[in-house]
Structures are given as C-alpha cells and as structure tokens.
C-alpha cells in the first residue's frame, strides 16, 4: 500500500489557513472573546450570594419552591468552596458557546429536516465532530485563536453542536405529517408552516437538544481548561496536575452543581416555552393536587420583578464594592519602591511560578507595585525584548532557551543564574536500596515490570531518554518507556510510593516531588543527560539603570534546591490563584528570606522575645497526656508571642524529625524505657529538656467495685469473673507487647486470660460501659490518665516488677533548640505538672470533645491561674 500523506496535507492546509485566512479567525476570535467578556463581566460583577439569589428566583419561577431553595443552597455551596469566580467563568463560557451553537445548530437542523440530501451530508459531519478526540481540534484551535476563552468556546462549540442539529432535525421530522398536510391544505406558505406548525410542535424536542448542548458544553468546558480557558475546567486540570484529589473533587462538584442547575432550568424552560409543554404541565398540575407550596410557582411578572430588583441591588453593590479595597500593608522604612510599578512575566512552570510570586511578594513588601503576567516561552521573550515587561526569572540557559537568546539576546539583560542545579534524571524512591545509578537498573527490569514511567512523549527529555540515555546504558532492550503525561507519571509515583512498590520515573530538578517524597536521582556516570542549564533571570534593556536596587537584588538572587522545592510544594498545595498566599505561608517558615533577597538596613523589633519570631514546629502524639501538655504550652506560649505549628505524628517520624531539625519540640517522650528504641539511635542529635511529669507507669486496672483484686496475682483463678479477657489497646504498642510477652507469663495468667486487641478509645468505651453497669472488667491502662479522675479504679500492683521500671515524661527537642530558644529552653526545663493537674486537664479536654482542645485548656487555666506564671516566669 502506498503511504497516503494525509498528515502532511492537513499540516499544509493548516499552514495555508494560518497564512491566508487569519483575518477570518481574528474576526471570530473578536466575536467569541467579546461575547465571552461581556457575559463574564456581568456574571462576575455582583455579590455571589445576590447572583445566587437571582438564580434561585429563576428556579423558583421555572420549577417551584424546592428548586429555588436548592438552587440557592447549591450556589452558596460553590461560593463557600471559593470556586465562585471559576464557576462564573465556566458558566459564561457555556452560555456563550451554547448561544453560538444554537444560532448554528437550529437553522442547520431545520435545513436538514427539510432536505434529505442535506440531512445525509450533515449526519456524518456531526458524527465526525462528536467523535474526533477533543485534543485533535483543541490544539489547532490554539493555533488559530491563541489561548484563552476563544479556543475553549470553539472546542465546546464543535463538540456541543451535534445534539442541537440532531434534535432540531428529529423534532421537525417527527411532527405529524397530517398536520403539515393540513397546514398546506389551507394554503400556508412553507415558511409559516415551519414557524407556526413545525417549530412550535418540535419545540420540546428542540429544547431537549438545547439541554444536551449545554450539558455537553459543560463537560467540554472542563477539557477546555487545558487551553487556558480557566474556570472550573482550569481548576480541574490544575488539580489533576498536582494530584490534588481534594481540589479536583471540589471543582468537579461545582461543575456538577452547575450542570444540574442548567439541566433542570433548560428542561423547565422547555415546558414553559412550548405551548404543548405548558398544556402538559397544566394537566399534570391539575392531576397532582396535593401540597401546593412545594410546587408553587410565582407568575412570570413576579419572577421578572424579583430578578430585576436583585440585579439592580447586585449592580449597585458591584459599583460600590469595586470602589473599596486595595489596602497598603507595607511597613515604613522598608518602603524602597514607593509605589513604583514593576511587571514580571512568567512561564507556568513550577520554578517560574514559585520564583515569580516569591519576588512579587518580596517586592510588594518593599513597597513596589508588582504585576505578574503569565506567558508562553516565545511571547515572554518577545514581550521582554519589546520592553513590555521588566523582568522574568525562568530562563533556562545556555541550552533550552538558546533559540530565544540568539534571537533576542542583544535586547535583554542577563541578571545571572539564581539556580544552578537543574537537571534531568530518572528517579526511584529511596526505599529502592540497591539502585543508585543508571547502571544499577541493568538486569533489574523484572523488579520494575520492565517499565520506566515517562511523561508526555513530546517532551525533549523523553527523546533524550529513548535515543541517548537508554542505549548508552544498554537499557533499551530491557525497559520500555511508557509515554503518558506529567500528572499521570506523578500519580503513578504516588501510587507506587504509598505501596512501597518499585518504580522508576523520569523526573527533573527542581521539582516538588523531591520534597514531597523521599526520592533518589539515579546517577549518570556517563553524563548522557548532558549538562544542566542554569536558571537565569533576564530583564529588559536598561532595567538595572531604571531600578538599580532591584537589579542588584536580582543579581544576588539565589535559591537552594530545598528552598525552591519546598516553595513549589507549598504553591502546589495552595492551588490555583493562591500562589501569593502560598508564598506568604512559605515565608512564615523561612522568615529570613525576605531580608536575604531584598536587604534593607533597618530591622524591626517587637515586644515578643527575638526567638519567638520563628514558629515552633511541635509534634504530638494522639495520646491524652500529650494532647493536654501540647495545647497547654501552645496556649501559654502564644500569650508570650510565640507561634506554634502543631503536627500530629507517629513516634518514629517524630524522633527522626527532631534529629534532622525539621521539628523543634515534642513534649511526650517516655524515657528511659518505653521509647528507648527511638531515643537511643538519635541521642546525639537530640536535646533532652528534662522531665515534666513523674512517675508514669503502665498497668492493668480494674474498677474499685471489683473486690478482692488488688494485684496482678489476684487475677489468677478469676478468669470467669472477667470473662477471661483483659481489654487491651492498639496491638503492637510497647505496652501490649509487654503485657502479652512478659507481664501475663510472669503471673501465669497467659493461659487463663486473652488480651483483646483494640484501640485506646475502644478500651475506654468498654471501660465506661462496664463501669456504668458495675460489671467486672480488667483494662490495660497507664498513668497519667484522665480515667483515674473520672472513675474509681484500682491499679493492680506488680510485685514481680514485670512492667519494668517506671518511665518519666520528658520533653525532647532538636539539637539546636537551646541556642535557638534560650528563653524557652529555660522555661521548659523548669516546668513540672502534678498528677492531679494533668488528670483534670485531660478530663477537661476529653469532656469538651475533639476540636475544642484550645477552649478546654483556656477553661482549665482559668481554674489554675498560677500555671501560666509557673511555665513562663517573666
């Protein structure tokens, strides 16, 4: 078979269109964008809840009370998800696309209905439009219309057109032939037959088509997020890109709410608009009867008045709302910029976004007015060369952006690199122990399933990997590179990582994945990946002359991989539109960065101790005494101006975190015995801030109404009484192991009693239940514990010493803690708590329930006014 060069033909057709018919595309683009901007401006202007009210009134009018109420709730829900703006963007897009689709679809449908020849031509075209994968016309749409709303509208249009045409044709064709003949028999003109007989009777079907157009448009609008249309689709794409299932679910749900609303409204409109529908609805109402309030619908006049009033209010609020806002937060003395305007351009790559918004925040703190605009690489260089923007921070030189540099270099200023360590690589999780370099991959194909998870097959690094890296190491026979996409690669990494499965992925540095997961970059001893680029900051010509200070700052700018990846991860977490918030959050953790990036002479001073500036990372275990002490310290230290970030963690990670300095404090170290396994290996990298509670003990306890059981020995022969059970806690905890392996055998109880695995809450619930019914029960417990203040319990004595030596509770901190927090170190070392204090505090917290810990601590402190002074003596 000869090869038919269809692809080449399409390419040249596209090229020809691009060269010769741009005026047409520009015209369409102007129409689409204009319509979209208009609708969007109207929808974005009013207060969300007012617009939700307008939607609700429309629903009230079209469908009745329930629909009205649900509509308001639904849209209020969208607003509370902070997706209002995105939702309105999507809604505008769908509205514009639907209107344009109908303007095309209805006439074509009519034409097809009247001519079999047209119908025979139109049908395959519609099939073609509907089944051609969206990406195939989405991408050319960008070629013709650029990014933004226009290609989104075009893609939506193409996809959603088909049902409009089909349903219109069907609706007209299924109108009773007799009626058409009757109309003709009375001398009706073809035009009037269409307008007075066919269309009115086809209207329900046509409206069903309209409904379908909207639904398909909405689903397409999500995909159109890929071409920068924004809105909920953009949010979905972004969520997928970041593997942020939560954000994805939120924006997905918002789409669903929009879809249901539009669906119900258009179908209701269908019955309202068509005379037949009105007849049917009227009959149904008569037949139904029943409670009127739910199906009550205001008359159109009332609805229109409602909408108009709300719209006027909304309009008014919009005007006044627009006037307010815009506060200035720059501190005096640091106001270097004095309101000067600086514009930054960026490519939506992770490091570009991160560094750009970092600089935006830093420069704003220094009194500049900063505008950050997103560009594609090409346009970014063009804009910079033309002086439309001041600088950008994401130029990969000398290799990746060589073309642009060659073209525009003489009109740009290179402000130097701020990040040297860019690289392309294959990465494996750190738990893949014997794989450190590309060479190690050889012969291990079986472990990895013979697959290397790649990214978009179009990416440059994929070509490099397949054509150079793999052959050099002889991996091309053994491994298959799986083309997918960056999000899919990250999803695969996440999945494998969580299951500790072997996986090898293509990755590059800097990337947030390195900070989220513990990954190893595979070494490349043969240097096949080539030299990495440096990330440069580029400015327009004369920028440093115009802004010498900022120019100097940018020239001195540099970031470490850790800083950059953690910032990227933070931005990634915060999600779209919250980049700057994320930067602020990150700056809180890295308070010195602002001064490092943009040094100014004066330094601020507050009433808090200097050390309080840096927030403390405090890890806590979900154990009663630790909750109590941690929240107590949080309350007290916040009075002294400290900031505490509380992180709930498992024992192992806490010790590791403290040892590496990622964490600052933990108040619940049971030493020297219980947590010995964790403490010993890290001893040198930790600081022991001493005991605040002693003694602590592990025990088996019984309610005091169980007479004659005072010690573990007394349990012997009483298995019947306790049903042969000792209620335990989480299996695998030190206490449970000790109980099963040492304590019970020591007293010869292991044959008689079974230790019931469960959990602390289950054990406590069981205790509460038994206590209330005065039933005998033996539970695994420890001191301090609030249940000793709540119930009258007997700690069973341990004459054999099987539970071992008593622990005391220590506070442990990172190695550097004493020098970082001299004041705090003193305070913590000097504090102790009595059993009564701890017991009552735990009980207070327990009584108030989860989530009310801070209130409980505050209440407890009211009753123990001396404690604050004892903890933090001034």
């Amino acid at each position: 078979m000869p090869r038919i060069p269809l692809g080449a033909w399409v390419n040249s057709a596209v090229d020809w269109l691009l060269a010769n018919v741009t005026w047409l595309f520009d015209f369409f683009k102007a129409v689409f964008t204009g319509a979209y901007d208009g609708v969007n401006a109207v929808l974005q202007a009013p207060e969300p809840l007012l617009l939700a009210g307008i939607f609700a009134v429309i629903a009230f009018w079209l469908r009745g009370t329930v629909a009205g109420v649900l509509t308001f709730v639904g849209f209020a829900f969208i607003d509370s998800l902070e997706l209002w703006g995105d939702s309105m963007v999507t809604l505008s897009l769908v509205i514009v696309a639907t209107v344009i689709a109908l303007v095309i679809a209805v006439p074509v449908g009519i034409w097809a209905a009247r001519s079999d020849r047209v119908s025979a031509f139109v049908r395959p075209v519609l099939d073609f439009m509907q089944t051609l994968p969206a990406m195939i016309y989405l991408i050319p749409a960008i070629l013709f219309f650029g990014t933004g709303s226009a290609p989104g509208i075009v893609a939506t249009l193409i996809f959603a057109l088909a049902p409009g045409v089909r349903m219109t044709e069907l609706g007209i064709r299924q109108v009773d032939k007799d009626l058409v003949e009757a109309a003709e028999a009375f001398g009706t003109t073809p035009r009037n037959t269409l307008l007075r007989v066919q269309l009115p009777l086809a209207l329900p079907t046509v409206m069903a088509g309209v409904n379908q157009v909207i639904m398909l448009g909405l689903s397409m609008a999500a995909i159109a997020g890929m071409v920068g249309t924004g809105g909920l689709g953009g949010a979905v794409i972004e969520a997928i890109g970041q593997l942020n299932v939560g954000l994805g679910a939120e924006s997905g749900l918002a789409i669903v709410i929009l879809a249901i609303y539009l669906d119900r409204m258009t179908s209701a409109l269908g019955t309202q608009v068509s005379p037949l529908g009105r007849r049917a609805a009227a009959k149904a109402r008569v037949a139904q009867g029943g409670l009127k309030i739910w199906s009550y619908r205001p008359r159109p006049q009332v609805a229109v008045i409602g909408v108009v009033v709300l719209a006027l209010v909304a309009g008014g609020m919009g005007i006044f709302g627009g006037a307010a806002g815009g506060t200035d937060t720059t501190a005096d003395g640091k106001d270097v910029g004095k309101g000067e305007k600086i514009s930054i351009g960026y490519i939506p790559w992770d490091e570009g976004v991160a560094s750009t918004f970092l600089w935006k925040e830093v420069l704003e703190q220094r009194g500049f007015e900063v505008e950050a605009t997103q560009f594609d690489a090409g346009p970014l260089y063009t804009a910079l060369a033309q002086g439309n923007i001041d600088f950008q921070t994401d130029s990969w030189l000398p290799t990746t952006h060589a073309e642009y540099w060659k073209k525009y270099g003489d009109r740009l200023e290179d402000l130097g690199t701020w990040y040297e360590e860019t690289s392309l690589e294959l990465a494996v999780p750190a738990y893949m122990e014997d794989v450190d370099s590309l060479e190690d991959l050889k012969g291990k194909a079986a472990a990895f399933g013979g697959e290397i998870t790649g990214i978009e097959s179009s990416a440059g690094m994929m070509g490099l990997l397949k054509d150079k890296v793999m052959p050099e190491y002889g991996l091309d026979e053994e491994y298959k590179v799986v083309d997918s996409s960056t999000p899919a690669m990250l999803a695969e990494l996440k999945r494998a990582y969580s299951k500790q499965e072997p996986v090898v992925v293509t990755l590059w540095s800097p990337h947030w994945a390195y900070s989220d997961y513990d990954l190893k970059k595979l070494k490349d001893p043969k240097g096949t990946w080539g030299e990495g680029d440096g990330v440069h900051s580029l400015a327009r010509k004369d920028f440093t002359a115009d802004h010498p200070t900022v120019g100097k700052w940018l020239k001195d700018f540099s970031m470490t991989e850790e800083e950059l990846t953690s910032l990227e991860a933070e931005i990634n977490k915060a999600g779209k539109g919250k980049q700057q918030e994320a930067v602020r959050a990150w700056l809180k953790d890295n308070p010195d960065v602002v001064d490092k990036l943009a040094p100014v002479r004066s330094s601020g001073s507050g009433d808090a101790p200097a050390e309080a500036k840096r927030p403390l990372d405090v890890a806590w275990f979900p154990w009663e005494e630790d909750v109590a002490i941690t929240y107590l310290w949080k309350n007290v230290l916040e009075r002294r101006g400290y900031t505490l970030n509380l992180k709930q963690m498992d024992v192992g990670p806490v010790y590791t975190g403290l040892a590496t300095g990622d964490l600052d404090l933990n108040f619940d170290a049971w030493l020297p015995h219980s947590q010995k396994n964790f403490y010993e290996p890290n001893k040198d990298k930790l600081t022991d801030l001493g005991t605040w509670y002693e003694p602590v003990s592990l025990e088996v306890s019984v309610p005091s109404y169980v007479k004659g059981v005072k010690s573990l020995e007394d349990l012997k022969g009483k298995a019947d009484l306790f049903d042969g059970r000792i209620v335990g806690i989480e299996p695998g905890t030190g206490q449970m192991d000790l109980l099963k392996n040492k304590v019970l055998p020591a007293y010869g109880l292991d044959g008689e009693y079974k230790v019931v695995d469960g959990s602390s809450p289950a054990m406590l619930a069981e205790l509460k239940r038994a206590y209330a019914k005065k039933e005998p029960i033996a539970v695994t417990l420890w001191s301090p514990h609030w249940s000793y203040s709540e119930y009258e319990l007997t700690k069973l004595k341990d004459p054999e010493g099987a539970w071992g030596e008593s622990n005391t509770i220590h506070t442990i901190a990172s190695k550097k803690f004493p020098e970082q927090y001299p004041e705090l170190t003193k305070w913590i070392k000097g504090f102790t708590m009595s059993e009564d204090e701890l017991g009552t505090l735990e009980k207070e917290i327990k009584d108030r329930g989860q989530g009310k810990e801070e209130a409980a601590v505050a209440a407890w402190l009211e009753e123990h006014p001396d404690v604050v002074g004892r903890m933090t003596p001034q």
């Binding site: 009773d176 007799d178 009626l179 003949e181 009757a182 109309a183 003709e184 028999a185 009375f186 001398g187 009706t188 003109t189 009037n192 007989v197 009115p200 009777l201 068509s274 005379p275 037949l276 007849r279």
Partner: protein, 362 residues
C-alpha cells in the same frame, strides 16, 4: 359555466419515469401490476369526472384504490402526472405555487381522516386557522370561527383544547375549520372513518343538514358504501386506480357496472337507498291513481313505500309533480328489490301457491 370542478384524464404515477408509465397506460401496453413489478406505482389512472355546484360527490373505494391521491390532486397538494383539474374553469395544474396556495386558502378547504387538529392551538384558534392564513384580522376571524363552531354544534367549547375533546367533537372542529373560510369546495378525506359507528351516523346526518343550509360543493372520500349512499348525490366507485362507475346511489345499486361493484352493493341496506322512482314499473295504463288511495312520488323512500303498499289493496301508484302517473309499484316488486331478485315470481304446485292472492285480497 355550471360545472364547479372538472377532472380530465387524471393520472398519478409514483416512481421512476412517470411520464413514460402514463404513456404505456394510455396505450394499454402495460397494466398496473406490470408497472408495480417494475417499481412504479400508478395510483390514479385516467380519472375523469365533473362535480356540479351544491353537489356531494362521493368517491368510494377500498384502501389502495387511489381515492386519497385523487382527492389531493383536486386541491393541488399532489400534482397530477398527466391530465387537468379545472376549478371554476381555472386549470389548477397550470397555477404557480403561490397562486395555488391562494386558491387553497380561499376557495378549497379540507377535512381529514384523523382530524389533523393543531395540538398547540385552542379549539377557536384551530377553527380560525384558515382565516389566519388568509390574513383576516383577529377580531373578525375569531367571530367567524365562533360562528363556524356554533354551526357544528360546538358553541361554548371555543377555549378548550383539542386533546380535551372526544373524537366526534374533534372532527366537528375539523369541519368548523373547513367551513370557517367560506370556501366553495370542501374536500373530505374519509372524514368520518375514524369515528365510532353511532357518532359516524350523527356526523353524517349533521353533514346532510348543514349541506341543506350551506349548499357547498363537497367531494367526499369513503370506503364505506353505506356512507357513500347516505351522503352522495353521485358516487364514483374506484378500483385499482381507475374509476369503474359513476352514478347515483340507485344507479349503482340497481345497475352495477360490473361484478366488482355488484359485490359491494350486496351488503348495502337497500331499503334505505331505494326510492319509488327506482323500483316502480314504468308500464302504466294511466288510471292507476284514479282511486282515492295513497300515492307515492318518485322520491318516496322504500320503507314508506312498503308501509303504503301494506295499507293499499292494489299496487301503489307513483305520480310526478303534475299528478301524472309515472309508474306503479306492485307488492311483488318491493319484495324482489329487497332480496335483489327482479325476475317474475315462479309457480307453485300446491294450493298454497294461492296464498298470495288470499293475502292480497285481505
């Protein structure tokens, strides 16, 4: 120019090369079956007839006989393959679409088998439809629609919707719609076939009543010979696209053109169709009416004639408007017509053969 409607050698052929098919039919080179085998359907073949003003002209035939196609050629909904339709002397086949629409909207209206009411219009709007097409102002068209509805016995239902009415009432709306335009010619396509028998009778009676008042020219299509004979001044019987006989009800009943028509007439209730004029013996002496006994006219229905005959001692005399005797009806003849037996009575061997005379003498 007394003829209202005139059809001349109408042909309608569906399928490929219709003109050629018509030519072969004309030359008797092919019949309908042969054409069908070639994929061409000859729906109407060489139909010619005239309809006089004020006449109800019924086209009767089984389904597939081409009667509906014939009807649609009369108002131009279907264009004849060959032949002419002249309405008030105007050749409809020569008119442009626009002119044809004009004729249809003002001069010819139509009532359909399945009513074909517009479900999205109220009863009044349906009745006013034709006027709306004519461009009559709203107030006037509503007044005229209401009049037409009242004429059809639907006063008070103007604001109802078609789907709220029974079949009979819906067809009255259909009739009112056709009458409202004041068209001269009413085409009725099996208009009562979809109705229950009792309601059908009502409608037929009502149509006859209306016709007495309005004197429209009506072409009525039916497959029911009883209906045809009740309504039709003249009847055209169609078979396989051809008109096989045109005549009055009694013509068809008494003198069927062929066995096909005769087989139809067997089921007809003769007593309802026949009149004295059709059954009388025309050989008269002239003095049959000289007694004081009851006499009949040519229009006296068969049932009345039977009653007279039962009361009279001798055959009933039939006289015309001027009192001249035009015929007599012996009892024997009445019984013969009822049984479709027109021969003379035979003889009987037994004495019971005298019974007739005894009875006659009584």
């Amino acid at each position: 120019m007394s003829t209202r409607l005139e059809a001349e050698h109408l042909y309608k052929v569906f399928g490929r090369r219709p003109d050629q098919a018509v030519e072969r039919l004309r030359q008797n080179e092919a019949d309908r079956e042969e054409l069908r085998a070639q994929g061409t359907t000859a729906a109407v073949i060489d139909a010619s007839f005239t309809v006089e003003p004020g006449e109800i002209f019924v086209v009767m035939g089984l389904s597939g006989s081409g009667k509906s196609t014939l009807l649609r050629m009369l108002n131009g909904l279907s264009e004849p393959t060959a032949g002419q339709v002249r309405f008030d002397g105007q050749d409809l086949t020569a008119l442009s679409d626009r002119e044809l629409r004009e004729v249809r909207s003002r001069k010819i209206s139509m009532v359909f088998q399945h009513f074909a009411l517009f479900p999205h219009r109220s009863v009044r709007e349906n009745a006013a439809y034709g006027l709306e097409v004519q461009g009559v102002p709203r107030a006037e068209r509503e007044r005229r629609a209401d009049e037409a509805l009242a004429l059809c016995g639907l006063a008070g239902w103007e604001h109802s919707w078609p789907d709220e009415l029974s079949g009979g009432m819906q067809q009255r709306v259909g009739l009112a719609r056709a009458l409202a335009t004041d068209a001269d010619l009413l085409l009725m396509d099996e208009s009562f076939s979809a109705l229950d028998p009792l309601i059908r009778r009502d409608m037929q009676d009502q149509l006859v009543e209306l016709q007495k008042k309005l004197k429209k020219t009506i072409v009525f299509i039916t497959h029911d010979l009883n209906e045809a004979m009740r309504l039709g001044d003249r009847i055209a019987v169609m078979r396989d696209g051809r008109i096989v006989q045109i005549g009055t009800a009694q013509d068809i009943l008494i003198r069927p053109a062929n066995d096909y028509v005769a087989s139809f007439t067997q089921d007809v209730d003769r007593s309802r169709v026949l009149t004295a004029g059709a059954v009388m013996e025309r050989e008269v002496r002239g003095d049959e009416a000289d007694c004081t006994c009851e006499t009949a006219t040519a229009q006296t229905p068969f049932t009345d004639l039977c009653a007279m005959s039962a009361r009279a001692a001798h055959p009933v005399a039939v006289i015309d408007g001027g009192g001249e005797v035009i015929g007599v009806v012996p009892r024997q003849r009445l019984v013969g017509f009822l049984g479709d037996e027109e021969g003379a009575p035979g003889t009987c061997d037994s004495s019971r053969g005298e019974g007739g005379k005894v009875l006659a003498r009584a």
